[in-house]
């Protein structure tokens, strides 16, 4: 009978699947065990890297890979982001007012194509990133260098007028626009990294955005690892570079970066033994993971600020009393303990804690009575007559939860009704930069460890101000701080500037970030870092 035949076939196919799934493979050896034995680190790395050209990238996943492949003058310190660590430069000097820096390059540093790393490579690289034709998004980082801005804006064409020159192959001299003691910390940023001039010239030249030098076939680096394999949306592999000057320190034999965008998929991969370290953890799992996997759930401070921008060009946010009332009505400890639950710190100011030498302000707190009084003074007693306003968030469940908590706090304390609406990321960015919002959720992560990376945002005309706020005294303080001759003076000026920012409150600080991720206990030498970048050469895997 045909029907029995079909019945049997169906049954066989179904059983075949079950058999394949349950028995055929047996219990698999976990990737994390195999890789640990081979000394290969398996890392979840968020998204697919857009490029590996240090002068064109802007994202965290790209940076994590570039850290393995290219080394700058100064490297990341194994456990303290506020300290410089010798990289390609083995030593350095500066003049008394920190405007002229001389770097002595090590003799044994070389590129993976065999070229030695010389001072001229840095001159070439900085000319490249500052060339207007390249259109590098991060070129502004180099504006600390004398005349860099003028060259980048096309005001001068002659790069020799820019404050960087190779005195000889092993000596690089940099002249800065103003005294900058934290220049060494800025040099850790990939925008200052060198590229190999020969390979760049061979593939399209200095200013070609689509130059093929940074593909897996052509890539030339000078870092502790070299690129061996890159399959899109799947995995990117690097292996130990035997020609790296400090190869003896490097303990890992390789790293595999997995571009897993979805947080749940990444977490499953960790559970299923496919990753040693994840990029993030799904926020709603944090409370249960604290109990179930406390030795693998890692929570570390992260130098970033979560805040709301207020559009001061719109009523009622043009009134500083309203802005202060909104800031004082938020119970931040409730938000970090009940909503975000990832160990975040209550923000008492805009610049987060963790920067050596900078005392965070405690200007912003929770004071419901004063908030009510201020709102009444502004003409809205008990919230009466308060215009209809809305909080703009980019589409994300976590941002919505925070916004709902704040909405409820404002309703209960101030008697005002504020709406919430979400926009897709790029639309949200557009709305924010064109001041098409009332209140906008925002975040800012430090580029380097200094309060300047946060406070310069709100100067008049800064492309990231996005609040319409402008304060001449604030602008002056930031300018003075940029030109200050001593670090004490600079910190003092920046403290004053933050005082003004937190008095006028175009932004309402909410919390300071933490990084929350999963880590296999076998991973060694992976220290808490406020910028979240770790020199892989100090990382190792124990096999026990």
């Amino acid at each position: 009978m045909p029907s029995t035949f079909w019945m049997k076939l169906t049954f066989l196919i179904a059983m075949g699947f079950l058999a394949l799934g349950v028995t055929a493979c047996g219990e698999r050896e976990r990737d994390v065990d195999t890789a640990a034995a081979e000394g290969i680190l398996l890392m979840g790395n968020g998204g697919e890297p857009r490029s590996l050209d240090p002068h064109l990238v802007t994202g965290v996943p790209e940076n994590r890979i570039i850290q393995a492949l290219i080394e700058g003058l100064i490297a990341y310190h194994p456990d303290d982001d506020t300290l410089p660590e010798p990289g390609i430069a083995e030593s350095w000097e500066h003049n008394e007012d920190y405007t002229v820096w001389t770097f002595n390059l090590r003799e044994d540093a070389q590129w993976t194509n065999g070229d030695p790393v010389v001072a001229g490579d840095f001159v070439y690289s900085w000319e490249r990133i500052l060339s207007p034709a390249l259109g590098a998004e991060y070129a502004e980082m180099l504006y600390v260098i004398n005349n860099a801005e003028a060259f980048h804006q096309g005001e001068i064409d002659d790069f020799s007028q820019v404050g960087v020159r190779a005195i000889d192959d092993r000596t690089l001299e940099v002249q800065l626009k103003g005294p900058t003691p934290h220049f060494l910390l800025m040099l850790k940023h990939y925008s200052f990294y060198p590229v190999n001039p020969r390979v760049v010239e061979e593939h399209g030249g200095m200013t070609d955005r689509q130059s093929g030098w940074s593909t897996v076939e052509n890539y030339v680096g000078n870092g502790p690892f070299r690129l061996t394999h890159w399959s899109t949306n799947e995995v990117l592999e690097v292996e130990k570079n035997p020609d790296y000057w400090d190869a003896d320190t490097v303990q890992l034999n390789g790293i595999r970066f997995f571009p897993i965008e979805n947080v749940n998929t990444e977490f499953t991969a960790f559970q299923g033994g496919r990753l040693h370290v994840t990029n993030v953890v799904p926020a709603d799992r944090i409370p249960s993971l604290r109990e179930q996997m406390p030795d693998q759930l890692i929570i570390e401070p992260y130098l970033g600020s979560y805040f709301y921008r207020l559009n001061v060009t719109r009523e009622p946010f043009d009134d500083p009393r309203v802005r202060e009332a909104l800031a004082l009505a938020i119970d931040r400890s409730l938000i970090v303990e009940r909503v975000t639950q990832g160990g975040q710190a209550v923000a008492t100011g805009f610049v987060p804690e963790g920067i050596t030498g900078y005392q965070p302000t405690d200007a912003v707190g929770h004071d419901p009575e004063r908030a009510q009084a201020l709102l009444a003074q502004a003409g809205y007693p008990g919230g009466q007559g308060f215009p209809e306003t809305e909080i703009l968030i980019n589409t994300s469940e976590n941002h919505r939860k925070v916004a709902e908590a704040i909405q409820a706090m404002w309703r209960e304390t101030l008697g005002i009704e504020v709406g919430i609406y979400n926009q897709e990321w790029k639309v949200y960015l557009d709305s924010q930069s064109s001041l098409d919002y009332d209140i906008s959720r925002s975040g800012w992560i430090a580029d380097y460890v200094h309060p300047m990376t946060f406070l310069e945002l709100f100067t008049t005309g800064n492309g990231n101000n996005d609040t319409g706020w402008s304060n001449t005294q604030y602008d002056r303080l930031i300018r003075q701080a940029q030109a200050a001759t001593t670090e004490d003076q600079r910190i003092d000026l920046l403290t004053q500037a933050e005082g003004i920012l937190m008095e006028d409150l175009p932004v309402v600080p909410i919390y300071w970030y933490t990084r929350v991720y999963m880590r296999d206990p076998r991973v060694q030498g992976w220290n808490a870092k406020i910028l979240d970048y770790r020199p892989y050469k100090y990382v190792s895997l124990s096999t026990s």
Binding site: W6, M7, S214, N233, E261, W425, K426
Partner: protein, 306 residues
């Protein structure tokens, strides 16, 4: 037949052209640019980048260039991923999607059609109720629920199959099952419906009265007609399985086309969006054309001359 195929082919080209134009307009009207990011870019740098990718040209000129290039199979560079052209990206991701799609389709047909025939032949017995209830569950259970359940059972509790990735045959089992079972459910229902309709026809009653064996009735007289609904669905299902498996690709971290579709839209990667849309649209057009031809071949009642 040739005339029919030719006219359907020309219709298909028109549809593609319309889709291309519409996509171009929609992409151009969408707020946000491929180059915007949380850190503001100076306007003069933005202008440099835009002119590099030709965004500074008037829309009509851009449309014309992109269309003429597209006709030659050249969709330009990705505006977001450096050193990668749209053709490269498709060339890398498409084979993966075809692999996943082919296996899933085999699962879908291998389970769906026999189950449907069985249910129709043994209607109103447990052999009908069981597969049909299962298929109802299959249709109702979205892949983003089924996928994680399978991962939980086979990947995490039993630890017999890898939870994600695309590195060998064992990595294909769970995603193909997730995607295939969902479509199997549809095929089972469609086949059952088609077979039942055929089994209730007058000629079947006549055949039975004449004493034709039941197996001949099912095999020779009913199967061809009974499969028509399933075959009609085969076109869109194939195209959908190959390029629309975004959820499954995300759950299992598979480097196929689905992920690119969504990433391209989120990144506003204009050229990539256009390239992928054309690819997907062509797939649907071609699949539907094939299905039309097969249908006509199977069902003489359809007159293709008209």
């Amino acid at each position: 037949m040739l005339k029919f195929v030719l006219s359907r082919f020309l219709q298909g080209l028109l549809v593609l052209l319309a889709i291309y134009a519409l996509t171009f307009v929609l992409v151009a009207l969408t707020p946000g640019s491929p180059f915007s990011s949380e850190r503001a870019i100076r306007p003069e740098i933005l202008a440099q980048i835009e002119s590099f990718y030709g965004f500074d040209k008037p829309p009509l000129e851009r449309f014309w260039t992109s269309l003429t290039n597209a006709i030659q199979g050249e969709f330009g560079p990705s505006a977001v991923y450096a050193n990668r052209s749209v053709t490269d990206i498709i060339g890398e991701a498409f084979p993966v999607s075809i692999q996943l799609g082919a296996i899933s389709l085999l699962v879908a047909l291998g389970i769906g059609i026999p189950a449907g025939i069985l249910a129709a032949v043994k209607r109103n017995t447990w052999l009908d109720y069981l597969p049909m209830s299962a298929s109802m569950v299959g249709i109702c259970l979205p892949t983003f629920v089924l996928g994680p359940i399978l991962v939980l059972i086979f990947g995490i509790i039993l630890q017999t199959l890898p939870v994600s990735g695309w590195f060998g045959p064992e990595y294909m089992i769970l995603p193909a099952a997730t995607l295939g079972l969902f479509y199997a459910a549809y095929f089972a229902r469609l086949t059952r419906g088609g077979m039942l309709e055929m089994l209730n026809q007058d000629f079947v009653r006549t055949a039975r009265a004449k004493g034709v064996p039941e197996s001949t009735i099912i095999w020779k007289h009913c199967l061809k007609g009974g499969l028509i609904p399933a075959i009609t669905y085969l076109g869109p299902a194939t195209a959908g399985i190959i390029s629309g498996s975004f959820v499954v690709e995300t759950i299992f971290q598979i480097p196929g086309l689905g992920q690119w579709f969504v990433q391209a839209a989120l990144n506003r990667d204009d050229f990539l969006i256009l390239g992928l849309t054309v690819l997907f649209a062509s797939l649907i057009v071609v699949m539907n054309l094939l299905v039309d031809i097969i249908q006509v071949a199977l069902n003489p009642r359809l007159k293709y001359e008209k």
